[in-house]
Every structure is written in structure tokens, then in C-alpha cells.
């Protein structure tokens, strides 16, 4: 069964932020909201600087879905985690629960308090009519419905960021790691890192 996943190769990412800009541009994301961000460690230290592009990981057993008091999340059969902005009350609990800091909040509430949640949709829109204007206004483009991959991955110049079916992504990860002479049994980042602290 298809399960859509992102993978960012920290050996390739050059902190150009092309993915961040592509995402903001494609979905007309307001200032202050970043569905995707790039994190860099050891900046300026030769051989040690590493960057990673992060957005919603579309978790299989999504903690955001577990915590949401309005139960506005749903997981598509292809594993993409989406939410319904018409139900969301902007409480922010998904952000507390998300291991990856994906949920975002603009200041569009009354007197500038935080409004409803916004996050990466894997460019798959939301519960509104597919490819409708409302869907675009709420969630941005629905590139998956158009048979395209997410904008960020398609724009990534070094192909550090890849997106698609988990088994295909896994093959690319293993191929690249083996080619580098790395250990393919180690997972790159995510749950494993939390659980082992390694």
C-alpha cells in the first residue's frame, strides 16, 4: 500500500531555503507561517555543518490527531495527514504533541491572537472540494490531485529533499547511504532518534 513520506538528506541539503520559498509561494502562505523550515547545526564549522529541511512528516500514528480536541485531523489512505480548518479552534495542542514542530499559527485571531492551525499538506489540499477555490484559499495547491509531487521536493536543487511512496524513498535513502559507505540499517532521524537518544 502507498504511504507518502518526505526524506531530507542532510548530506546534500545546502541551506538554500529554496524549498521554504517554493512552499510559501505555491500556497500563498502568510508572513510568519512556515510550513517548511531549514535547520542548520554547527554553522561555519568545516566538515561539521549540516542542514535539514523540516515540515510535517505525515506520521503513521500521528500524535497531532491523537491530541486534537475537535478531532479535526484525518489520515488519507496514502498516509497523508490533513486537517479541517472549518473545525479547528486554534488551541495549539497539535503543536505541543507534534514531535517535529510542524503545526503553524498566524496572528489572524481577534486583536491579533493566534488563529487556526496551518501545516504542510504534502500539497494534497484539504477536505474542501478538490481543486476548488475554497480548497486553495484554505490549504493551498492540491498538486497530488494533479499527479505531481510536492512543490518543495520538486524545487530542491540538490535533490536533498525527496517525496513520494515510502518504499521508493527508502530505496533512494539506502542507495545513497550505501554509496557513501554508511550503515543503511540506521534510520536518518525521527522517532528512532527520540527513542534511542542517538
Amino acid at each position: 500500500m502507498t504511504r507518502m513520506k518526505f526524506y531530507c538528506d542532510d548530506y546534500r541539503c545546502i541551506d538554500c531555503n529554496g524549498c521554504v520559498v517554493a512552499c510559501k509561494e505555491a500556497h500563498e502562505i502568510p508572513v510568519g507561517v512556515n510550513r517548511r523550515r531549514v535547520i542548520t547545526i554547527n554553522e561555519g564549522i568545516e566538515g561539521k555543518q549540516k542542514s535539514l529541511s523540516v515540515a510535517c512528516m505525515h506520521c503513521s500514528d500521528a500524535p497531532c490527531q491523537k491530541v486534537c480536541p475537535t478531532d479535526c485531523f484525518y489520515i488519507r489512505t496514502d498516509g497523508i495527514v490533513l486537517h479541517d480548518k472549518d473545525k479547528c479552534i486554534g488551541c495549539g495542542y497539535c503543536l505541543y504533541a507534534c514531535p517535529f514542530g510542524a503545526p503553524q499559527f498566524g496572528h489572524e485571531g481577534i486583536f491579533g491572537v493566534k488563529g487556526v492551525m496551518d501545516k504542510c499538506t504534502f500539497c494534497a489540499g484539504g477536505p474542501d472540494d478538490t481543486l476548488s477555490e475554497t480548497e486553495f484559499e484554505h490549504y493551498g495547491q492540491n498538486r497530488i490531485a494533479e499527479g505531481k509531487i510536492p512543490m518543495c521536493a520538486s524545487m530542491c536543487s540538490t535533490k536533498a529533499l525527496i517525496a513520494g511512496d515510502a518504499s521508493e524513498v527508502d530505496k533512494i535513502y539506502e542507495y545513497r547511504t550505501a554509496k557513501r559507505g554508511g550503515n543503511t540499517s540506521l534510520k536518518p532521524y525521527g522517532w528512532e532518534a527520540y527513542n534511542n537518544g542517538k
Binding site: D10, G32, N34, R37, I39, T40, I41, N42, K48, K50, L52, V54, P63, K66, V67, P69, T70, D71, C72, D86, K87, C88, I89, G90, C91, G92, Y93, L95, Y96, A97, P99, F100, G101, P103, Q104, F105, H107, G109, I110, F111, V113, K114, G115, V116, P188, Y189, A193, Y194, N195, G197, K198
Partner: protein, 315 residues
């Protein structure tokens, strides 16, 4: 005889400590999944100004990346937040039901004191316009905060949408406004500070003195209110931003948990206050509006208030 007097003097404190001790022990010992060791060490780190939650230097590049991108030690606090949100939604009805049952039991056991008023025209001015303004603001805002706050807790029942979202936004705004009202009310209700009344800042302290049970309520109102104001204001101030996320997320998780806990505790003591001032004795709500109470009402229900007014030369 000695011990009976001691018991009588300290009954309210002992029962409160026992009740909270038992509930706290069961809760912390058997029901919570929080990593307490981490939380204690983390609190100490926060005291020296480091909110990041990174307690030990990362052992690997991967761990360093995780800390920088997502924040550290996910499993120590976040799963508790998820669980607590869900369980509050499901079980808090039973907690409130049990609390109300405590008061029903007390009512059945102790009955109600209904003062006899034969001279309704003999009124005593007790509350100044300033005190009444603060009291009404406090009542209004607490009602609003409880309604809008538990609107979040139970939004599975409301199904979310525009109205619950608006109410939630009002919770944040009312909360910010309540900080001032909470502070002023805490001061004016601090009857134990009566010696300070000559000071211009403190002279609005309410007349009368605290009975132990009311002193406990005041203490929890002050302490839980402080917890709610601090956690609420910090949650709002540390607005989630993708750039600062890893530095503050652990702190925000702890703050939300503090807010959960303080809101449940303050609710119990608010219920206790309503019981003590309007159910176990017949209340005189009009007095809160006009500021004056029948002399006989005060003689029978709150002689200390009359006494205090006399001492202050207002009688």
C-alpha cells in the same frame, strides 16, 4: 481538650492538606506518565534562564540535529499532554460530579444558616464602590474564563468551528485582562494584611477577618490564579514560531500542563467559595451590588465584618 482545640483551629488546613495529599499521591504516583526526573532537572535549568530542555550535551550529530530542529526529550512531557487532554475531555465530568457531591454531603450534614432579619432598613455600608467594581469584574471574568476555557476542553462535543474558536480567542484576551483584576482582587481580599490598611495601596482590603476555611480558599485563589496568569501569559507570549520552536516547545508543554492543573484546582476552590458564601449560609447578593448589608445579617453571619468596620471608624 488541648487536641480538640488544635483540631478545631486547624481542621480546614488539615483536611485540605490530607485531601490534596491523597489525590496528589494517587495522581503523581499511579496515573501520570511524565518523566519527573527530567522535569525537576529541567525546572532547575529554566531557573538559570535555559528553556531549551537540553540537559546534557548531545552524544551524536543526529541528537544535536534533533535538539536543534525539534527540541529534545520528546517522550518526557509531550505524551502526557496528549493523554491529559484526552482524559480531561472524557473524565473531568466525574471529577466535577465528585466535587459537587462533597458539597451536597456537607449541605445535608450541616444544613443552611438562614439569618432572621427583622429590621430590613437597618443597613450597614460594607463595600466601597472600588471594592464592588473589582468584585464584579472578577466574577464576570472568571465566569468568562471558565466557560471559554472548558469550551476548549470539550470541543469534541461542540465539534469545533467558528463559535468555539471565537470563544477560545476570547479566553486568551479575557485572560490577559484578568491578570490585573486577579492581582487587585488578591490584594483587596487579603484580610490577613489588615495591619497594612493605613498604606494607600492596601487600604482597600475588605472588612472582617478570615476563618481558616476561607483563608485556604484565598490562598488557592492567589496561588492557582498566579499559576494560570503566568502559564497563560507565557503561552501567549511565546507564540509558536518555526524559528524559535526548538528553544521553547518543551517550556510551552510544561506551561500547558501547569495551566491544566491550575484550572482544575481553582475550579474546586471557586466551588468551595460559592458553597461557603451562598449555600451553607443564605447569601445576600444584593449587598455585592449596593455595598450595604442588613446589620442583623452581618451580626449573624459575619460579626467580624461589623467589628472590623467599628475598628476602622466606619461604624
Amino acid at each position: 481538650m488541648e487536641s480538640k482545640t488544635f483540631w478545631e483551629c486547624n481542621k480546614a488546613y488539615i483536611l485540605t492538606a490530607l485531601g490534596l495529599g491523597v489525590v496528589g499521591f494517587v495522581f503523581v504516583g499511579f496515573m501520570m506518565i511524565m518523566d519527573w526526573g527530567y522535569l525537576i532537572q529541567y525546572t532547575m535549568h529554566m531557573m538559570i534562564g535555559d528553556t531549551s530542555g537540553v540537559l546534557t550535551a548531545p552524544a551524536s550529530e543526529l541528537e544535536q540535529m534533533v535538539n536543534a530542529a525539534f527540541g529534545p526529550a520528546y517522550n518526557s512531557v509531550a505524551p502526557e499532554i496528549i493523554r491529559a487532554s484526552n482524559e480531561r475531555q472524557e473524565y473531568i465530568w466525574y471529577v466535577f460530579f465528585a466535587e459537587i457531591m462533597i458539597f451536597v454531603f456537607l449541605y445535608v450534614k450541616n444544613g443552611r444558616l438562614t439569618p432572621t432579619i427583622t429590621r430590613p432598613d437597618d443597613m450597614v455600608q460594607v463595600l466601597t464602590p472600588f471594592q464592588r467594581t473589582v468584585i464584579w469584574l472578577n466574577i464576570g471574568m472568571i465566569l468568562m474564563l471558565v466557560l471559554t476555557g472548558f469550551n476548549i476542553t470539550w470541543s469534541l462535543r461542540s465539534d469545533g468551528g467558528d463559535l468555539p474558536r471565537l470563544l477560545r480567542e476570547f479566553h486568551e484576551l479575557t485572560g490577559l485582562a484578568w491578570i490585573g483584576v486577579w492581582l487587585v482582587f488578591t490584594v483587596i481580599a487579603a484580610k490577613d494584611l489588615k495591619g497594612w490598611r493605613k498604606n494607600t495601596l492596601f487600604r482597600h482590603i475588605l472588612p472582617g477577618s478570615f476563618k481558616p476555611s476561607k483563608r485556604v480558599i484565598w490562598f488557592f485563589y492567589a496561588a492557582m490564579g498566579a499559576g494560570l496568569c503566568f502559564s497563560g501569559a507565557m503561552i501567549i507570549t511565546l507564540h509558536p514560531s518555526s524559528l524559535t520552536h526548538a528553544d521553547v516547545i518543551q517550556f510551552r508543554r510544561v506551561l500547558l500542563y501547569l495551566h491544566f492543573g491550575a484550572s482544575v484546582l481553582i475550579m474546586f476552590f471557586i466551588l468551595d467559595f460559592v458553597y461557603a458564601s451562598a449555600i451553607s449560609v443564605k447569601g445576600y447578593l444584593k449587598g455585592l451590588w449596593t455595598g450595604s448589608y442588613p446589620r442583623e445579617y452581618l451580626e449573624q453571619v459575619a460579626p467580624d465584618v461589623l467589628e472590623d468596620l467599628k475598628k476602622a471608624g466606619r461604624q
